[in-house]
Symmetry: C2
């Protein structure tokens, strides 16, 4: 653990920058006010940076996971899209998601009886509770629970159980690599109830086209309904992020629950019923990756 704190007297002479590069040739660069935390867990390097533009930033394995300013986009779009499609999502499993943001959004749906976060890395949860209380507050809800375990091992003993599984993972390098493999998707399918839905973050269609082609081909072998949807996330590589909606029964468009949407009136900042439908309308070059 190391801390570098900006001395105010340095003024504009203090120039500390964090860059997240794609292929070492292009990336987002952010001016840092200070490094609030740097640590090494059993699984990865973990950093918390303080920035002017995005507030506090969580970095896992060198990649930005969440920022205070725009985390709502990713967490709303991962959660509410399937939760306004499944008619009775009682049991929800979140794989990864140690920051708690997905849990927070899932628990806004009153019909969810229990949401379980299976996070491999306890230090992620501890760091987020300390530095991102607005994100991790889902952990305080009695309907939320967290288990520190390898998701692949957990799934073996939990078959035919979940109405919704959300894969809130980091990139397919380091500890999350296994979560993008077909074997894992087959285990997910077995852990879902017969009308279950699985949604996973699926990288940038601008920068990770080859990964996306492989992953969607695998997903289509496992699930009868597989559709990509997109969101604008400024702090993820390229600013365009994709999600895989995989379902045994419900279609994300024709089964959208307008009645539930109208009555629940969630105070979302990104998601709404029109964005729900629009996010599945893909530009031609993106559509060609998943056809």
């Amino acid at each position: 653990m190391a801390g570098i704190i900006r001395e105010e007297s340095m003024g504009d002479l203090w120039n500390l920058w964090f860059s997240e590069l794609h292929k070492g040739t292009v990336g987002l660069t952010i001016k840092i006010k200070g490094v609030l935390f740097s640590g090494k867990s059993d699984f990865q390097r973990i950093d918390v940076l303080d920035t002017e533009e995005f507030g506090k930033v969580l970095v896992l394995y060198g990649s930005i996971m969440i920022t205070e300013r725009d985390e709502f986009i990713y967490h709303e779009m991962l959660s509410h899209v399937p939760l306004f499609v499944h008619p009775d999502p009682k049991e929800v499993l979140i794989i990864g998601g140690g920051d708690g943001g997905t849990l927070r959004e899932v628990l806004r749906h009153p019909e969810v009886k229990k949401a379980l976060v299976v996070e491999i890395d306890r230090m992620v949860v501890d760091v987020c509770k300390r530095f991102f209380p607005e994100v991790s507050r889902g952990f305080d809800n009695p309907r939320g629970e967290v288990l520190f375990e390898d998701a692949a091992k957990f799934l073996v003993n939990n078959k035919n159980k979940y109405d919704l599984i959300l894969c809130d993972s980091s990139d397919p390098v380091g500890p999350a690599e296994v979560l993008f493999q077909k074997d894992f998707h087959e285990m997910i399918s077995k852990s879902l109830s017969p009308d279950g839905i699985f949604v996973a973050q699926s990288e940038s269609p601008i920068f990770h086209g080859e990964t996306i082609e492989k992953v969607y081909k695998n997903l289509k072998d496992v699930f009868p309904i597989v559709k990509m949807y997109l969101a604008h996330i400024p702090t993820y590589p390229s600013g365009t992020w994709s999600f895989a909606f995989c379902s045994k029964k419900y279609d994300p468009m024709t089964n959208f629950l307008q009645g539930k949407y109208d009555s629940l009136k969630l105070p979302t900042r990104y998601y709404n019923n029109k964005v729900h439908a629009a996010s599945f309308m893909l530009p031609n070059f993106v559509q060609s990756l998943v056809e």
Copy 2:
């Protein structure tokens, strides 16, 4: 004019980076293979960079204007959205657009009899013809024309004439600042025919919220129909870019020309009929900027 060309023997020791920063605190950083051109026109600094990830990149006044890899997104979305709404767009005016990409897309519509580019800076056109022939090829079409003049002066003498005016400008600093003012929008309105449409690029809703609030308030004072639409553009700040669709008569949703779309079968790489509608469905925090 200066040229810095990478020596292959330098290998990975050669590290030249270009960064476009927002407020000096966050931005896109791109590794540069070489600087192909740097010049100063009467209006601005102009650079052409060679990059691995995005190919050649045109930089005006320090901001990325186009890259070989993703220019199609901006040019398709600026052009085809209004051209699949106006039923008879014979006369089209493009303000700015000296790279020729918007002209190229506009001329794919056979009912356009003439498309005139009014660009203030001749050097932009010359540089693009030299370094971006695939973008500037619209200038070779006999239905396309270019005039080197201040758009504000040009509009005074061209009233009630254009079916469609596209404002393909750089950011509201430097030579393009005037194009974001209400006086200018009123001149635009007078130069449009009674059922004319005006579309302008309108910056990033993530980074330029205050500018957007002001500009849309002005536009609504001038045009009866004003709607924002969005596109994913990885090399523009934040990756999310907005366009203002301003119209005297036609609504971008209800007046979409499905028949023309089906028969024209344009080989677009981003735009399609579903993206057309979806791009107007705004996230809540973006909608609140333009309400």
